[in-house]
Amino acid sequence: MTYFVKYSRGQMKIQEMAFVLMAIMIFFAMVAMIYISITMNNLKQDAGQLREQEAAEVVRKLSAAPEFTLTSFSKECSSCIDLDKVMALKDRKDYQGFWNLDRLVIKKIYPAGVGECTSINYPNCETITLINKTSNYVSQNAYVSLCHWDPYSGGYIKCEIGQIYAAGRSL
């Protein structure tokens, strides 16, 4: 024997309304989710751009920072980096978060050197890595003069061509 449940007209209307309300809520929730995901994505992009911009400005001004700039003997070189000072900076871990960077490398271009600089092979080496917190980076670079005190020929300041590479903090 088959029984059919018969709803009254009022009950049907309430059910309809409940479904419509559910549909409205789901629609608004979806719109909100799409909006939030787009906003978050834009925000992430903006933050990334700002960090790259910050890294570019840091690179541009780094050779003038007291920790890098060459001040001894010649005071008229705005893009000269004192490598003797940078080698001392390499041993100091306090500076790791100082410039808001995830990567900071100084590379000698000419004359070419080989390998990471240590107290044993310095100054006949290629790179000095000061900060290396990420392998995924977009780096900004700037050409600089890399200067150090050379004990030969009575001692003088010898400058070579190099580049600074810096990458902003990753997200």
Partner: protein
Amino acid sequence: MNRKGFELSFGWLFAILVGAVIIFLAVYMAGKLVSNQNQATNTETGKELGILLSPVETSLESAKLSSITFPRDTKIGNMCSNLGNFGSQKINITSDTGVGGGDDAGIASTFYNKYLFSSTIVDGKTLSVFAKPFEMAYKIADLIFVWSDKESYCFIMPPREIEDELGAMKPKNIYLVDVASKISNCSKSSKKVCFANTNTKCDIQVSMASKAVTKENKTMYFEGALLYGAIFASPSIYECQVKRLMKRNSELALLYAGKADNLGAKGCSSNLQETFVSYANHSIKVNNSRQLKDIQFEAVDIARRNHDLLCQIF
């Protein structure tokens, strides 16, 4: 008599109630979204401002003047903390967007290598930014002095070097008066900075002899470019930045000690390592600007000894 009246069915009541909840939620969410958007914009602006302050810093120049204009009236919060190895400079922005109340301050951006000297809150559309290197034997950092288009300063009888420097750069809203009796020439709203007289009308009193600046009933002591810092900054900001500068000075002294070691290994001994370490220890212990005088005394001695070296450390 008609007794039938208006009857609200359950359906109507339900629809009104749910409709009201939906409308309330929609208005609340819209308000929240606008507020969050304002906060995000202000946070980005704060970071951008910090980045914009980098090109303002000096390399070989003795001073640099720039201006930064915002699209609308903006409040810049200058917060200084001396926790950690270098302390930190935090900048936050509250910009009046005209939508949603406009008091959603952005999240503060943190910088470790910047030293901003200003009031706790700088309010205006255009900022004047003046940078000068701070040296104690060697350059420690660039000091950045900031004031807005709503603030003005009147320097009464400044010393020759300040008069020349400001006269050459002509910073906005800074006026120079060379005769003490002409204090009335300063606009009423300007902050009067007196160098040689103790007029009651002076807001800021500078004594070049004792290297002291009295402002808001507090005395701050200065060396070199910190003079401007003491004039433009709130006393609490000034004292905090002095401690941060001394922390950086200490780190730099240790760096130079390391460099002296490296040069010694190359056959160029300076015998300055211990002096640098002692200088670093004294610098990090500086608690207030009054102690700057002792550090300056040591700095002069180190500079003299470095100058006489065959291979100079700085």
